[in-house]
């Protein structure tokens, strides 16, 4: 094979291939470009769920409100679970957190899986965006959707049910840790899933059962001993219990336990997810 440099050029054409334009240097602030890339991915992820707000916000809020209506009505005669806290009051934070959990997971997992299946993930894979930008943009977009869902639910219910706010900092921390963890879990599911069936299995056999069995509708103290112990192995239980503490200053377990378990869960899933993103697991062959 002849050396490329030994070959002649096409007659009548430019004799060499030196650039015919003045060389420019890459922008002096590559960090600024990285920031624009990150902001764009975040904006795109927000635009994605915003463009189908009926599915991504309205529908889950209506479902949660129906739960509230049915359970509050059916359990209205029951004794208060905590002193001074009615069943309906008790129910609302749990339902809000359950909806937050499910929507944070759905946002990242469906976006990534859809992009993989549609093939448009190549636009992101070919772009100069790093694993941390992917992680941050997807998780923050999911947090925004989760916050929107939570705020709408609270705004709709507050005129009918008084909710105190005993520990707002705990409330905010539990929200971020819980929604963040499920957003990251959604990213992991999206990376692993190669078809929607995989995602549905993850949702139906993991997310939904764990969120329903996490003390949304009851106090774990009302459970038989085995289920009481089992509940303490469910990370979603701590998310809901800690979130509820933020409203009432009371919960099934000490709040530090909820904060610690939720933080630990967030760190574990984030570590797994970042490993996947850095190694290109199931993303780059």
């Amino acid at each position: 094979m002849p050396e490329a440099s030994q070959l002649n050029e096409r007659p009548g054409q430019q004799p060499d291939h030196q650039p015919r334009h003045s060389a420019m240097t890459i922008a002096a602030e590559p960090k600024a470009q990285d920031a624009i890339g990150f902001n764009t991915l975040l904006k795109k992820e927000v635009m994605r769920f915003w463009s189908v707000l009926g599915q991504t916000v309205t529908a889950p809020v209506i479902t949660a409100l129906l739960y509230l209506l049915v359970f509050a009505q059916a359990m209205s005669g029951r004794a208060p679970i905590y002193e001074g806290v009615s069943y309906t009051q008790f129910l609302i934070p749990g339902l809000v957190m359950m909806t937050v959990i499910q929507n944070a997971f759905a946002n990242t997992s469906s976006s990534l899986t859809q992009s993989k299946i549609m093939g448009n993930l190549v636009f992101l894979l070919m772009a100069p965006l790093g694993p941390l930008e992917w992680f941050g943009a997807y998780v923050i977009a999911a947090l925004i959707r989760a916050l929107l869902v939570a705020v709408v639910m609270l705004v709709v219910t507050i005129p009918f049910v008084h909710l105190p706010l005993q520990a707002p900092l705990v409330l905010a921390t539990m929200f971020v840790l819980s929604a963040g963890s499920l957003a990251v879990l959604g990213l992991i599911a999206g990376i692993v899933a190669s078809k929607f069936d995989h995602l549905a299995a993850f949702t139906n056999f993991f997310i939904t059962p764990l969120s329903f069995l996490s003390g949304v509708f009851y106090s774990v103290h009302a459970l038989p001993p085995l289920w009481f112990k089992a509940s303490h192995l469910n990370p979603f239980f701590y998310m809901i219990d800690g979130f509820r503490y933020g409203f009432f200053g009371k919960a099934d377990v000490p709040v530090w336990q909820s904060l610690t378990w939720s933080a630990a869960f967030f760190v574990i899933v984030s570590t797994v997810c970042l490993w996947m993103l850095f190694t290109g697991y199931k993303l780059r062959r």
Binding site: E9, P19, A23, T25, I26, A32, Q33, M47, L125, R285
Partner: protein, 338 residues
């Protein structure tokens, strides 16, 4: 593109600016290849998709990458793009290693993927602005986006959802997406597969303009006449290896034959001395394959004259890229990609 974000872009009618040299300057920058590939290997199970690829593409070149299906072209492009990881070897784009300096390397590249992919959530113009943002470009490229929409006949589709576009329109959007950050190196992976004549003309006119302004263009295609028409240099890849890399003229000159088509008066039989040269005979037209050096056309005419055979029509055909392709890969592209 890679302008400082507080800078306005130069006028879009100017030469397409380079993404820069990333610290390489002066004559060193000028000598830096657009793409340098060294010792590239990739295996999928028992299949050795790439088996030691080494070549470079010069800056400002219009380069063709040809080969039959399964030759390794797409694997090579996907490794350049960062979609696939190689088992061995290295690639740099304008001097930036695609692994250790991947951000700069990717900023220098615009790739039109082979598959017709799109994001159904967005309108055409939003998709292009998002794509620009991924590369660190903001509002300053919006005029360039508008220009591309015009050039690619997408202006009336700017507010249309990408999912509502026809296949040809989606292909145009893909081309615009690849160019939105004004990359100095553009790779087109079979951009005209299954598209109509109008889009081909639009695309090639656009790419010629970009190339004239300094953009390096790498093209893979099964339409060999396109490669022959557009490319200055061509690499033919087969079974994971580069079979040859040469200028288009050099490739065409490799074939020492010429084809001569004859229609003989009253469909007279060809003299026996010429029968060995026949490659085809259809509807009264006989095609002879002549060695350029040893068998001048005049010798054929002399033989016919000696046999008393008259000629009604005569036509010569020089070997084209397809003849070379078949010679080097021993496979006809039209058959292989069917």
């Amino acid at each position: 593109m890679f302008y400082p974000m507080n800078h306005a872009l130069p006028p879009i009618t100017d030469k397409i600016p380079s993404a820069g040299t990333g610290g390489i300057s002066g004559s060193a920058a000028a000598e830096t290849p657009a793409i340098q590939i060294a010792g590239l290997r990739k295996r999928y199970g028992a299949v050795q998709a790439l088996n030691g690829i080494d070549f470079s593409i010069r800056r400002g070149e219009f380069f063709g990458l040809l080969g039959p299906n399964g030759a390794g072209k797409s694997t090579l492009i996907n490794i350049i793009a960062g979609l696939i990881r190689s088992d061995a070897g290295a690639i740099s784009v304008l001097g930036h290693d695609t692994v250790s300096d991947w951000r700069r390397a990717r900023r220098c590249l615009g790739i039109v993927p082979q598959e017709l992919v799109f994001d159904p959530f967005f309108k055409v113009v939003d998709m292009l602005r998002i794509q620009a943002g991924y590369y660190g470009a903001g509002r300053e490229v919006w005029p360039w986006i508008d220009e591309m929409l015009e050039r690619l006949d997408l202006a009336d589709k700017r507010k249309v959802s990408t999912r509502a576009l026809s296949g040809g329109m989606k292909r145009r959007v893909l081309i615009a997406q690849a160019l939105v950050h004004k990359p100095p190196v553009v790779i087109l992976d079979e951009p005209t597969a299954g598209v109509d004549v109008e889009l081909r003309r639009t695309l090639w006119s656009f790419m010629r303009d970009l190339h004239a302004k300094g953009t390096t263009v790498v093209l893979t295609t099964h339409y060999l006449e396109e490669a022959q028409e557009m490319c200055e240099r061509i690499a033919i890849v087969d079974k994971g290896q580069v079979k040859i890399i040469a200028t288009t003229e050099q490739l065409l000159a490799r074939n020492p034959y010429r084809f001569l088509k004859l229609r003989l008066t009253d469909n007279a039989p060809l003299p026996e001395s010429l029968r060995a040269l026949v490659t085809s005979e259809k509807a009264g037209v006989i095609e002879l394959k002549l060695e350029l050096e040893k068998q001048p056309i005049a010798s054929v005419f002399a033989a016919l004259r000696a046999a008393g055979v008259g000629i009604d029509d005569v036509h010569t055909r020089e070997p084209d890229l397809e003849d070379i392709f078949v010679e080097l890969t021993a496979r006809a592209p039209g058959v292989l990609h069917a």
